[in-house]
Symmetry: C5
Subunit: 373 residues, 5 copies
């Protein structure tokens, strides 16, 4: 028995299967020094894309730059700068950025490790925050997840994403149009706006899942099938995954609210409290859904056992009626020389059939009383 | 299998079904700036209704006003003002009110988002509180829920409800009659009175559910049916929903008690402690009911398995008695030339039937010993 | 399906059944002002009974008074006064007492609401404490519960009970005899003595339940019956009820110990710690019993499934042995013209019966190997 | 149904059974004043045994004394005194000791109440600690438990046990030999040494239970029997009992570490931390074992359902093969005048038997495809 | 029944089986003085191996020494010294080391007790930390665990392992090459690097387990077998073991972060926070896996009950169709003299067979409607 796990693994390697999201773990080679930059995710785009957005209440400029050196020239202390980097596979570029902006090596390592748990790290002059951006992929019928890293410095926000199209377009749009308070505030409010956007996406994913659960619930009552069971398990796994992404995010936001960071103004704090409320709501809904799904499993199992019961009843009714009758027929098929009943003229049409009918009727009453019919 | 969730959703859209309360989530479009006013609930009344009640220990005046401008004229600093707004769909009206009373944009957004979780937000000069008012709709046999928002300012309470008839009539009545201490106290006591009213309604809803559980419990023992199972699931869902409304309310009241808000006097605090006790009692009862219901599921499943057992026993008794007898009858129906028993004259009436009777009696004793009869 | 809960309720009302303790909730009409005195329990005695006991180390006097006015005359500051009121239905009397002793209206309301959760409220000059006094009613085989309210003032203890015989007799006896330290201490020690008495009763109730569980446990192994299942459910419900009474009491005592109340001397605190320990022990035992009972349900279910298994085996053994034999007998009952075996002279006595016996023996070995026999 | 618990109790009394350890509760008569000395345990030895051990780094003396008065003479302030009392039934002796050493009446009451929960009480000048000493009784195959009370005073330790042989021999031996630091330290270190001894015994009990679990685990896979189920329940109960003894002990030690008691030096604190670690390890193991056992129940139930499945398959295979064949044989046993097949000369040997064989083979393939064979 | 545990133990001893890792407990003989050095693990290597590594930013020297005395000569206060000891069975050697480096006797005892729970003990001048180093043994298909002890002193780190090859090679390599910051920092950073290495190994073990779970999940849906059940139990046990190792490690790291130890600089603290994050991630994954596995058990049980259902259906269909037909055949096999149907010329070919076919068709429709076919 000891070799089972091992042999399973071998079989699996032969099959060369794609590994499911929920079984993926951090894959840094053990013993590498901390801050070793190894990209553990899959390369999702060809070329790393760097956007710079600079703004204050009056000015606004955005451009996509070609070489990382361009990045280091600009710095106008009156403007808030947002640097957005899509794509994580170009490690030398990341190192240059890290050097220039004084990013701690551990932060760079965490940015590259895409199996990171959402967290908030305080490096005194900088705040580092990891989020999971989640979307429901309509085509695949699955939740897809992307790691988003935020580095908040004075007047500066650097964000890292795994792919394009980036999910920050609605916020960039608000910056362009100068709508709301976003242009009046600094990088802390910008990071709030991005977090809010990420959390808003959770709600639409939850809506999709909620629809599926409600549909399944009706299906299970009217027409319980084994495939439904698989869907239940699939949904349970998706919710488990969602919970893994949201639960630590709640801690992140709670830390932001409780600890007083210099980089976050008290004005922005009110907005972060709002995101926190949303995350709590998401967790609430996830837990409700999980409870609904565990209830559905009960429904399924009890409906299966009900059907079994019904099958048993049919079998028992048929057998209970016909087995005694067959015995009687068997009796009169015996070949004894001295078998008086065989010679009674009216026995077959009256005696035999009346016995059969009376017996059948008695059985019918018996089942009626037992409520089987 | 990946496409299951997706295909389920498509099927569901075709059916165009009404979405159940428990699967509804916040529907704000992702990326909108905070404070964007979007009414997410369903429009439950045609015209927004605005009531103003002004009172102190001597004076009392109430009126329903037509235009929102009327609202802004009145303000007598000696009177406590209660503005009650029924209906949330008129967004421009809400914006005007928000502007005039300095309500934070996030509060306005939350008032409109009717899937809000009960919460208490402290905006220094104002306290914002969201509750769920719950009623048992006798006609539909369902719990209906409405979001109630309270904004507590100095000498001023603004309440928002989704529909008429509003549920605050008993309190308004006490104000009119000047009964108790309500006219002597300020807006903080008024908000306590409204909260108390909302919590009192929980008790009557719980009483309804308790009655159903007790009835079901008796039914399950005497007459377990599949429909009962559906009712159990329905009750479980109602309790889950109730719990979602009450659990955060406990936190709200706890915060009120623990943090010392300037807007709430220590006299009123004693009363809020009383509401808090009631909410704890509601939670207690909800948890007890949930445990009772999970016990009922066990009862149901074990009674189903008992019945299955009984069906099996009937089948086994019939089969065990008649199968050997049928074999014996079969033997004497064989057509061998040399079959001595067939020619023994008294064998059929004595030998055959005595074998049958003895065998039947042995079986009877066997089942008796096994306690199957 | 929506109307199920509703229709259940209607059916129930027709039946006019007594409501079980566990489904009772607070029944104050929603919207009544706080402090409205409504007696929610059932009237358990005819006339309200008022006892006064006054004592210090040297003196002791007790009397039952007729009119409430008598109560207000006496007050000797050197004596500790204990006023004990049995019966809660005379609201005007309660109001007079409340006025005279400055009892907060919310306390009076809570005294009358007999579905109160055990709690401790601090009204600065007074401490208000609610307990559940529990007894095992030997005649009905049920736990009965009564609400006991204590108001502790300086040198004064007022207690409220629902019925006579009151459960405080042993303490009154100790006061009369002047045994122990009770006469030397003040009202705080007296209230401790009463609480201790109430908690001591929990132990005897637990002993009763423990006996039942142990008996049931043996029954289930030797003779599992459906009635046992009902007893299990009944015991589970009793424990749920006990837990609801004891869990908040632990909080009450913990608050007494942690917060330093002026009314409770540090000497008495040591004794309250002792009651606290007892309550923790009661909770421990309740939880152990609950776990034992959930284990008993498992035992029951697995013994049911064992019996089912046995039934199945008997059926299968009988069917597996006789069905093939019946087939063979059927074959030799066929009427083919050309049926050589029928004419072989020794085939019936030797060929047929040896086949039957060999087949039966093979089956026997098969079942032996499968460990079914 | 109400009388079930009651009638159960009566039946039980008739049987006059020994009460199992897990159902025993504190049996003090309700209403006795606190500090009433009632011995609630069973009398385990005839005569109370009193040992005195006096020691410091140079001196060591031990003797068994006859009368309690001897105890009160000796007191040399330079020596650490350990008084060990085996047997609790002599109440007057206990009272004398209590008087002489200023032991609080509640402590004396707790010493006598042998169903005490492990706890630590701080009486300023004294520390009182209750432990459960546990042993695995090889003969009875059961865990036996004894209550050990420790009173720690300045330079003085008084210990109470229920029986002889006392379990402290190894520590007394270390004192005699002057091994280690025990003679250099005072009574606090001595009490640590005794606690450490008690906790060490938990490990050997756990080892016994662990062996049983591992053995059972193998048994269940190879040969699931109903008796194994009983052993599982027995082990579960033993672990429940162990947990009840150890969990409060962890709190006791945690309090010792956290609160800084004058009676315990910081040097000894390091050793108490060590015992604390051991207790945490014991709890860990208990929880692991509990999880293993709940896993074993699952194994048992699924193996039972597997066997049921197998029984069903055998029945179905036999029935499915022979029922159609029996029908065919039945057909050719019919007595129609016009029954052409009966007269076809080769039909019986070729037609009939080939049908039978083909049908059997088809069935065989069917079951093969279904993976039943 | 009392003797079951006992007899089980005896049987087990006869079998002389190897004890599984999860049932091993601390085996120190009860009553030994604290600090008694007893090696409780198994001796995994022949000779104890002692390595010394000395380094600062410029210098680096490592050697394997023969006698322990060599160890005591060297001490250059500018260098950081790392002493690594592989093998724990040479107690006298350990005692010498303990004496020389002022190691507390309890620490030495814990180093030798290889069933220690991961913990951190603060001995003011030294920090003592126990870890579990875990590897997945490919050959045995099992997780193997080794206890690693770290003693952190000023400029000095002493590590103890149970066997060679030691698992610290990658860190030693980084020291040799002078890569990263490791040579610039002191012993606290070195101990971080070792802890990080240990935690990194957890990830690779988790990856192995994750692969097995995913493979099993697919197997269970396509081909549920009893062996899979055993693998599920095995995986559950491995995860239980992993959890026991990781959960206390989280506490250890949390204490390191929260308490401010002089021996750990704030620079190193940032790195310890990083290890802490990894451990939290490991715990997260372990909990997710545990939930996946409990879900798999449900899948297995419901697939077993599905198959049972299918077996029942086949049986019922066959029996329901053929039992009535057999009865009819039996009827026409009766030997009544007056049996008119037997003499109707076309009855057998038309009447009889049409009845059979019609009946079969009716049954077919019946099963079709019941969705059994």
């Amino acid at each position: 028995m000891n070799n089972i796990v091992n042999s399973l693994k071998n079989k699996m390697n032969q099959k060369n299967r794609k590994k499911s999201r929920i079984y993926r773990v951090r894959k840094k080679q053990a013993g590498l020094p901390p801050g070793s930059l190894v990209h553990t995710g899959t390369k999702k785009i060809e070329k790393v894309l760097i956007d710079i957005t600079e703004y204050n209440e009056e000015k606004f400029a955005e451009k996509t730059i070609e070489s990382v050196e361009e990045l280091f020239q600009q710095k106008d202390s009156n403007l808030t700068t947002w640097i957005n980097i899509c794509g994580l596979h170009d490690i030398s570029l990341l190192e240059k950025i890290g050097d220039h902006f004084n990013i701690h090596p551990l932060v760079l390592e965490d940015i590259l490790n895409t199996e990171q748990r959402p967290k908030l790290d305080d490096y005194e002059s900088q705040l580092y925050c990891v989020l999971k951006s989640i979307e429901f992929d309509e085509a695949a019928g699955e939740i897809t997840s992307e790691q988003v890293s935020l580095i908040l410095d004075k007047n500066l926000l650097i964000t890292f994403q795994e792919r394009i199209p980036d999910c920050f377009e609605p916020v960039r749009d608000r910056l362009r149009k100068g709508k709301g308070r976003i242009r009046k505030c600094s990088a802390d409010y910008l990071s709030y706006a991005l977090m809010d956007l990420v959390v808003d996406n959770y709600f639409s994913v939850l809506e999709n899942i909620g629809d599926s659960i409600q549909y399944l619930e009706d299906e299970l009552v009217t027409n319980p099938k084994t495939e439904n069971l698989n869907t239940i398990y699939k949904l349970r796994r998706e919710l488990l995954f969602l919970r893994k992404s949201v639960l630590p995010l709640r801690e992140v936001l709670n830390t932001m609210l409780r600890d007083e960071f210099d980089l976050i103004t008290s004005d922005t704090n009110i907005f972060i409290r709002d995101v926190y409320d949303h995350v709590v709501q998401v967790m609430d809904t996830v837990e409700t859904y999980r409870e609904m799904i565990s209830g559905m499993l009960d429904t399924y199992l009890s409906s299966v056992s009900n059907r079994m019961n019904e099958v048993m009843k049919v079998l028992t009714i048929i057998a209970t009626i016909f087995i005694p009758l067959t015995f009687i027929a068997g009796v009169y098929g015996m070949n004894f020389d001295n078998f008086p009943e065989l010679h009674w003229y009216w026995f077959y049409p009256w005696g035999f059939w009346s016995t059969i009918i009376v017996l059948g009727f008695v059985m019918f009453l018996f089942f009626k009383r037992k409520k089987w019919l």
